[in-house]
Structures are given as C-alpha cells and as structure tokens.
C-alpha cells in the first residue's frame, strides 16, 4: 500500500503523465481513499493548466529583428580602439607592439613540427609565411613544395587521429600552396628536384588516402580533397614536363608555350575552422 507521503510526492509527476503504469495504478488506488490527495491533485492540475495556457507570441517578422540584431553584433577579431586620433595611434602602436612581443615569445616556443591540433600551430603558420616572404624568388618554389609536403604530413596525422575536419583543413591549405606554386613551376630553377618533390607529394597524398580508407568510417570529404589534389598534381606534372625542356636552354628561350591551365575552383582555407576545431579538440 502506498503511503500518504509517497503519494503526495508522486502527485506532480502523476499529473504530468510521467509515472509508469504500475505507479499510476498505485496512485489511483490511494486517491480513491484519500480526499486530501484528491484535492491536492486538483490544485496541481489547475496550476498545470495555468502554465500550459501561457500563449505563444503573435506572428512577427524576422527581417527587422535581424537588422536590429546585426547592428549590435560584434565583429570577430576586430580591434576595438577608442575613437580619438591620439588614442587610436597609441592603441594601434601598443597593439602592434603587443602582437610583436607575443609572436616573438610564442615563436621561441613553437615547435616547427606542431600539428593543427596544437595551440602553437598558428605560430608555425606565421613562421612559414615569414620564411616564404623572405625567400629569394629562385628558391621560393622549393619552400612552397616543402610547405605543401608539411600540410600533407599534418593531414595524414590528423586523419590517423581521426580529426577529419583538421585533416580536410590541412588538405585545403595544401591546395592553396600548390596553386600558388603552379606559377613558380613555369620556371623551376632545378627541374629534377622539382619533379622529385612532386613525386614525393603524390606519395604523401596516397598515404593520406590510405590512412583515411583504412578507417571503418572513412571520411568522404578527405577522399574528395585527395582526389582533387591528385588531379591538380597530374596537371602540374604535365605542365612541369612540358615547360622543363624549354628552360634547359636558358632564359632566352621562347616565350612559355604551355597553354594556360583552365582555372578551377579551389576550396578556400578555413583558418577559423581550424581554430574552432582546435578549441574543440
């Protein structure tokens, strides 16, 4: 037999229909002989009625709502500086100095082999950009191909760790670098070295795809990106093989006869996506 105290405790879930059938039967049995619980149940039901009859909002338009909201949305990563010229200059100088100090400090600790899930990874990218900017034009292709290879190493590592979004992001970054390198490929300083580097990239792409395919839940996005990258590599190698003989006769060679490759859309890098995934991981 259900005690009066227990029955009272169960009245609210009973009124909300949250009790199992046998519990309901026990409450029903108690209610048959307990006027106090019967009265309390009626109060509970009246309260429920008040709660569920709170009306929904009348129809409203989302467009003006959005315009008002948009006006107050903060700009991500915007540098907020007081709107006075003096403050602005001082603030900008301070911000730049802070960035320089932080970048220098972080660079000192950043491992060149940092992977995309490492908090120091952005520093590594900055280092690479600086390195590329300081590289003489003749050596730029070599650096670009090294960086492309590094992106593929990262993609492979992320695919192995089952971090597909980071792997995809590295593959997209690889594509960007290779696209940029395509311009340099028209005049490789060392055609054989370049050819070897492209072969090495192909091998790394194969490794990424193998890692992805070996997973039971292989990621379609990685597969597509690798396939697109291999196509791009094919195109580059054809371009390189056509261009290379002309370059062997020196700078006086005839203008580049290589037909311009048809540009194709390339996924843009998602730096912010990287950052968020790093935060999640």
């Amino acid at each position: 037999m259900l005690s009066h105290a227990t029955a009272r405790d169960w009245l609210i879930p009973y009124a909300d229909g949250m009790l199992a059938a046998d519990e309901r039967r026990r409450i029903d049995g108690h209610l048959g002989g307990c006027a106090a619980c019967g009265a309390e149940l009626r109060e509970v039901r009246e309260l429920n009625l008040l709660l569920v009859t709170l009306p929904p909002a009348p129809p409203t338009s989302v467009a003006p709502f959005w315009l008002k909201l948009q006006a107050v949305l903060p700009q991500r990563r915007a540098l907020r500086i007081p709107n006075f010229v003096g403050y602005r200059r001082a603030g900008l100088a301070f911000a730049l100095a802070s960035i320089a100090v932080i970048a220098a400090a972080a660079t000192a600790f950043a491992a060149p082999s940092a992977l995309p899930d490492n908090p120091l990874y952005p520093v590594k990218l900055i280092e690479e950009n600086v390195q590329l900017a300081l590289t003489p034009a003749n050596d730029r292709l070599t650096v670009q191909l090294q960086q492309a290879g590094e992106r593929l190493r990262e993609a492979q590592a992320m695919a192995t760790d089952h971090k597909p979004r980071l792997a995809e992001s590295s593959l997209r970054a690889y594509t960007i670098i290779v696209d940029a390198a395509a311009v340099s490929l028209k005049r490789p300083a060392t055609p054989q070295v370049t050819k070897d580097a492209l072969h090495a990239l192909r091998a790394k792409l194969d490794a990424v795809e193998r890692v992805n395919a070996n997973r039971d839940d292989d990621v379609a996005g990685i597969k597509q990106l690798v396939a697109a990258a291999v196509d791009e590599l094919d195109r580059l190698e054809q371009q390189e093989s056509v261009t290379a003989p002309a370059l062997t006769v020196g700078e006086q060679a005839t203008p580049d006869p290589t037909p311009k490759a048809t540009p194709k859309p390339t996924p843009r890098p998602t730096d912010d996506g990287d950052r968020r995934e790093r935060e999640r991981d």
């Binding site: 909300d16 509970v44 309260l47 709170l54 709502f65 909201l69 107050v72």
Partner: protein, 198 residues
C-alpha cells in the same frame, strides 16, 4: 504538452552544424540563417515568460547576441536547440526577475470578480498569466530554471534533462518542488475547483 521541435534530419543537422561553424568564425550571413531558423522558438519562450511582444523581442535580441558571442566555444556534443533553450531560459528568467517589482502578487491573491462568471475573460486571463510569471520569477534559481523550460519552452521532462544536463529524476524532483512553491505563492488562484480532470 506541445513539443518545441521535432528531431531534425541528418541533412538538417549537417547544415545547422555548418551554419554554426561559419557563424562562430564570424560569418554573419550564416548567423542570419541560424536566427531565421530559431527566431520563432526564442520569441515564443520570451513572450510566454514576459507577455509583451516588445519586451520579448528585446530579450530575444539579447539571447541571440549572447549566442553569437558564445558560439566560438560551442561544442557539437549536445543539440544546438538544447543549448539555445538554456540560454533563452536564463535570459527570460533574468528579465522576469528584473521586472518583479512592477507587478505585485499581493493584489492577485484573491481571484478577480469576473473570473468565475467568465473564465475566458481576456483581462482576467492576462492577470493570471502575469501572476504565474511573477511567481515563477520568485522561485529559487534551480526551480526557476527548470520550470521555465517546461512552462516557457514547452519542453518535456526528457528534453529538460538533456538541456540542463541533469538526470530525469532530478527534473522530476525540481519540477515537483517548483510546483509546490508555485501553489503556495499563487494562493487562491490555484484553488483546485475547476481542474478536476487531466
């Protein structure tokens, strides 16, 4: 009780995830799409809690602004709508507490004269709803947050448990405690004479 939303499709999940990620990265167009998707849900929660459209829209603005700022830290471990409900419930209960002095429950302890003669009377119903809102606002926070999700968000026990990340049994005990206090505080407004069926 009506459900707040049906389970989204896998495609809908993927699209929403994409919109969330892009919004977190600062893509305001993606965030606009998210707002369009969930504007009605948030406005309804706020309106049920506050009873005035202009106030509800202000609170909904506040909710979406908080969401936008917090999105970079959002993890996809729980459904976005659960998180949104939680942010909305917090915002509306805060707004209710800010407005508490405006409406006193003292005057509501006796049912208005027209209540029994015409239970559908709009003014009476409006006053009753105000009293319920203010009584909810006066609850201890753990009761208030839980009952707000049921009364304003129209969530089930299971949905409340997922939204607050607490066991189902805790939801039951909190709702029971909240409703006991509400009955005490609403006094004669909940007299049990009319609702004898469920």
């Amino acid at each position: 009780m009506a459900r707040a939303q049906d389970a989204p499709s896998i495609e809908g999940d993927a699209e929403e995830r994409r919109l969330i990620d892009r919004s977190a990265a600062g893509d305001q167009e993606a965030f606009r799409q998210l707002v369009i998707r969930h504007h009605r849900l948030v406005i309804n929660v706020a309106f049920r809690a506050l009873g005035e459209l202009s106030l509800a829209e202000d609170v909904a603005q506040e909710v979406f602004l908080k969401v936008y700022k917090a999105l970079p830290g959002y993890r996809h471990e729980k459904p976005f709508t659960h998180w949104l409900h939680r942010v909305a419930a917090n915002a509306v209960t805060d707004a209710l507490r800010r407005r508490r002095p405006i409406v006193s429950l003292d005057g509501m302890e006796q049912p208005p004269a027209s209540r029994e003669s015409d239970p559908l009377d709009v003014a009476t119903r409006h006053d009753l709803q105000k009293a319920v809102r203010q009584a909810i606002a006066s609850l201890p926070s753990h009761y208030r947050d839980t009952i707000a999700l049921q009364a304003f968000g129209e969530l089930s026990y299971e949905e409340i448990a997922k939204t607050l990340d607490i066991p189902l049994g805790t939801v039951m005990s909190r709702l029971s405690g909240a409703k006991r206090l509400l009955r005490e505080r609403l006094g004669d407004l909940v007299h049990g004479e009319e609702a004898n069926t469920a």
